[in-house]
């Protein structure tokens, strides 16, 4: 009896296990809202965000745009700030994104965004306008 020939057994089991676990650590909760356009947390603003590059890269600095209106869609003159992090990892973005200006449609251009890992990232847009301070929270899975 050559038991060595059965060495692949645990390996096969591991392959299955690994497949079963595939990216378990990186997957967002199934019921997560992945829309990039919705109301801020307290309903003061409608906020839309969009990546400047598609698909969103892992590891590269890139820009996003942020559009803010009233809940009815009227233009808003507001200050915005952008940050994010990985709720399952307990860390933020590896960079500090900044507002670089506005594009032709009046959307804020956010420079310096980098996602250094695949997985679930939470993005937060802080809005300070005439209606008050509010934060819109978004989710993306890379």
């Amino acid at each position: 009896m050559n038991l060595v020939k059965f060495w692949p057994l645990p390996v096969a089991a591991i392959v299955v296990a690994a497949g079963g676990y595939a990216f378990a650590s990186m997957q967002a909760p199934a019921d997560l809202d992945d829309s990039l356009s919705h109301a801020s947390d307290h309903g003061l603003y409608a906020v839309s965000i969009a990546p400047a590059v598609d698909p969103v890269p892992v590891g590269q600095l890139h820009a996003w745009t942020v559009a803010v209106t009233t809940p009815d869609g009227a233009p808003v003159d507001a200050t915005v700030a952008f940050d994010g992090g990985m709720p399952q990892h307990g860390h933020g973005l590896p960079t500090v994104p900044k507002v670089m200006g506005k594009d032709a449609e009046g959307r804020a251009i956010i420079g310096g965004v980098r996602f250094n890992m695949p997985g679930w990232w939470e993005l937060k847009v802080h809005v300070d306008g005439a209606a008050g301070d509010d934060t819109a929270t978004f989710n993306i899975a890379l």
Binding site: F6, V11, V15, A17, Y21, F23, T95, P118
Partner: protein, 380 residues
């Protein structure tokens, strides 16, 4: 004997069942699903983008500068005792590192010598990222009293005496006509031009990943190595930080390795790189300020920087014991055991969580890491 045969038969049935599951679950090349195949392909050297330009170094891609830099890299005259060159610790025969827990120059340092291959792709150099280019990095050890122990005036004297013609040819001005700090910076830029040519070589894993990426099956990795790859991407969570063709996210993490005294890691490194006169925004940089994107968006504050160190590439990792920023862990097995146990950090807070890999899984992961090569990188 009958009992053994019985066990073996049961084992064979389980194995067949397991393999059938793999096939039915994947139904694709190597048992991987589409997302896994994409992840595997993303780790291949074939996915490495073109080398990013270094706008802060006007001679970065000049072959004459690289040739000069290669000679400077090996020149022991650039040290206080005439015995230490860059190549002393960054040994070309050992993946441009020394295999020691901490570097030994004119004195004994407190950090593990880092390999060089592929660092042209990294926005931050050193374990704590206290330099933002290869040339700024190269200047640090020259004046570090524990490494070369030299000073910039002495470095310039060596250039005047031994490299004057080559220097003038590369930098367009006689060395004697330039200020010491300018010549010193240019020494770094020549060394950086050489270091940009040092890239990781292809491995068995790359050939496997390319096949999987094409949707083909491949026998280039053994069953155990393949299992290790699955764990690397899944339960082991290795891919979180060791991602992309160089197996690094070029970022900084606290993983709770035993702390070295007074070493705050990135928390100190982020402050140092911003204050470095040889950074991208400094007077010796060839870049326009708007080209210094990394400094513009640097994360320089936050508790997660405390005790955080740069994610090293895993290419060739099996040939680079000991591991971690001060060589605290002697072997790959020790490293994997550390991740598995996820001990609390003694400085700051560890990002790790326990992953509970079995002994067989740890062995498979180590086998996979071996497929990333252990030979010296390309470089000339």
């Amino acid at each position: 004997m009958r009992k053994i045969v019985g066990m073996a038969s049961a084992a064979a049935l389980v194995a067949i069942f397991a393999l059938a599951q793999v096939v039915s679950a994947g139904g694709q090349a190597g048992g991987w699903n589409a997302e896994q195949r994409q992840r595997i392909a993303s780790l291949s050297l074939a996915a490495l983008p073109p080398m990013p330009a270094d706008p802060s170094n006007a001679v970065a891609d000049d072959p004459a500068a690289a040739a000069l830099g290669k000679r400077l890299f090996a020149d022991t005259r650039l040290s206080a005792n005439g015995k230490v060159a860059c190549a002393t610790c960054h040994d070309p025969d050992k993946q441009f590192q020394d295999g020691l827990a901490v570097g030994h120059g004119v004195g004994t340092g407190n950090r593990r010598t880092m390999p060089i291959a592929g660092t042209a792709y990294s926005p931050w150099m050193f374990w704590d990222g206290r330099a933002d280019s290869q040339w700024a990095q190269a200047l640090g050890p020259l004046e570090n009293p524990l490494e070369h122990g030299s000073d910039r005036a002495s470095v310039v004297r060596v250039v005047v005496e031994h490299y004057a013609a080559d220097y003038a040819a590369v930098f367009g001005a006689p060395v004697e006509a330039q200020p010491v700090d300018r010549v010193f910076a240019n020494v770094g830029k020549a060394i950086a031009a050489f270091e940009r040519t040092i890239l990781p070589g292809g491995t068995r894993f790359d050939a496997y990943a390319d096949a999987i990426g094409r949707g083909e099956a491949s026998a280039l990795l053994s069953a155990e190595e393949t299992a290790g790859l699955g764990l690397f991407m899944g339960k082991g969570k290795c891919l979180d930080c060791h991602n992309g063709p160089l197996f690094t996210d070029n970022s900084f993490h606290n993983i709770g390795v035993p702390a070295t005294p007074d070493d705050l890691g990135r928390m100190a490194g982020a402050a140092k790189v911003q204050a470095d006169p040889f950074n991208c925004l400094g007077p010796f940089s060839d870049a326009r300020p708007e080209q210094c994107m990394e400094l513009a968006f640097i994360k320089a504050e936050g508790e997660e920087l405390r005790g955080a160190f740069k994610t090293p590439s895993l290419r060739g990792v099996s040939g680079r014991a000991p591991f971690m920023h001060a060589g605290q862990l002697a072997s790959i097995a020790d490293v994997l055991a550390h991740y598995n146990a996820a001990p609390a950090a003694t400085v700051g807070h560890s990002e790790l969580t326990r992953i509970n890999l079995t002994a067989e899984e740890l062995t498979a992961l180590a086998a996979f890491l071996d497929t990333l090569g252990s030979d010296e990188p390309n470089g000339d």
